[in-house]
Point group: C2
Chain length 192, copies 2
DNA sequence: CAGTTAACAGAACAGGTATTCTGTTAATTC
DNA sequence: GAATTAACAGAATACCTGTTCTGTTAACTG
């Protein structure tokens, strides 16, 4: 019947994730995605709808990166304080290497969630992933008395908050040293 | 010689602070400030320059609110753990009342600092104010052994980070309960 | 192999917002 | 009190960026 698509939508989405992640929604135009992906402008509109829908699709795809790449250690059955520390150390390591992208979902929460409730819903989903991961590690740590016996739910939300802080702070021009101290302080208070 | 200005630049600035604070740089146009202040568009351009300069001037004026209104308790000579707790309780109180504006400087750090180094400098100034205030309270608390004996600078940066978290988290659609738990967790870990 | 149908490439369109221009008014100074 | 000069009010401009239109091409189906 008709001609078939020449590009892979998921590849475009990966490109979009990279760009939105690096530049943010406001600073990344559809034209940037068009240029970087090499796909025709109209093709993108055809496949994804408008810019907002493209952003949401990218945000959803980003969830996989969070789950598979960043939360794996925390989701392990034997995760505890060490896993929590390792997680944040890794984040600090990325910062030390000059990675200032932070977390796409955390940034979306501030930049887009107030203006797009569908974005808010996706962010909430991603946060649930994070919360479950930290929840697992906190339970392990509490069971082994590795961390202070504070209200479990508070601890979990506290760590999610720390993650969100880190995921957005990093994007401002705040000196790396300050961010590191902030995280080290947060971790230093944790042990029993 | 010539006609004199009919409006008070500082009053315009106060209006601009309110609007930028409530809506953010991106969602607040010069037209909003024009409408709310009743001052002529050209008058504002004449007095402040362009939108970016107006924003920076508002950001600088906002510093006074932070210093005089929000940090007074922490800057008191006898400030300690109680002052720290009272400070964050007050923030949570505002949240509970539906105030979702957060902190203009904290938001500016994420929204504008990466694109405007002058904004970054003003934000850094405001953060120094915060840091000094927390520094005072932490020293008081440490001297009286009210909080855990963790590296002083880490504690300070930790609290500045918590403040920044709160100041931006509040703007996303994150449920108030989660934010509250996050802060309560952070405070619960503090006492010796 | 031919027809149909949708993707392609690029230009054109549209809407919103920052910015500036024009005539007019009124305060200040001599 | 008159001249001057800058602020006022509103419209007009410019620009950026998201969105859509046009002709063209090529893949699938019968």
């Amino acid at each position: 019947m008709a001609r078939s698509r020449e590009f892979d939508p998921n590849a475009v989405l990966d490109t979009a994730v990279e760009l939105f992640w690096a530049k943010g929604y406001g600073q990344c135009g559809v034209a940037d995605v068009v240029d970087a992906s090499g796909v025709a402008r109209y093709g993108i509109y055809q496949a994804f709808g408008d810019k907002d829908a493209l952003y949401r699709a990218a945000l959803q795809r980003y969830q996989r990166i969070v789950r598979d790449n960043f939360l794996a250690g925390l989701r392990s059955p034997d995760a505890g304080l060490a896993a929590i520390e390792a997680h944040f150390e890794r984040m600090l390591g990325m910062l030390a290497e000059g990675d200032r992208r932070g977390c796409l979902a955390c940034v979306a929460a501030v930049e887009r969630a107030p203006l797009d409730s569908e974005v808010a819903a996706i962010v909430e989903d991603t946060l649930t992933l994070m919360r479950d991961a930290f929840s697992n590690a906190v339970d392990g740590a509490l069971a082994r008395s590795e961390i202070r016996a504070v209200e479990r739910d508070w601890l979990i939300e506290y760590l999610v908050g720390l993650q969100r802080t880190l995921g957005t702070l990093v994007r401002s021009q705040t000196p790396a040293k300050e961010i590191e101290q902030c995280v080290r302080g947060a971790l230093a208070l944790l042990p029993a």
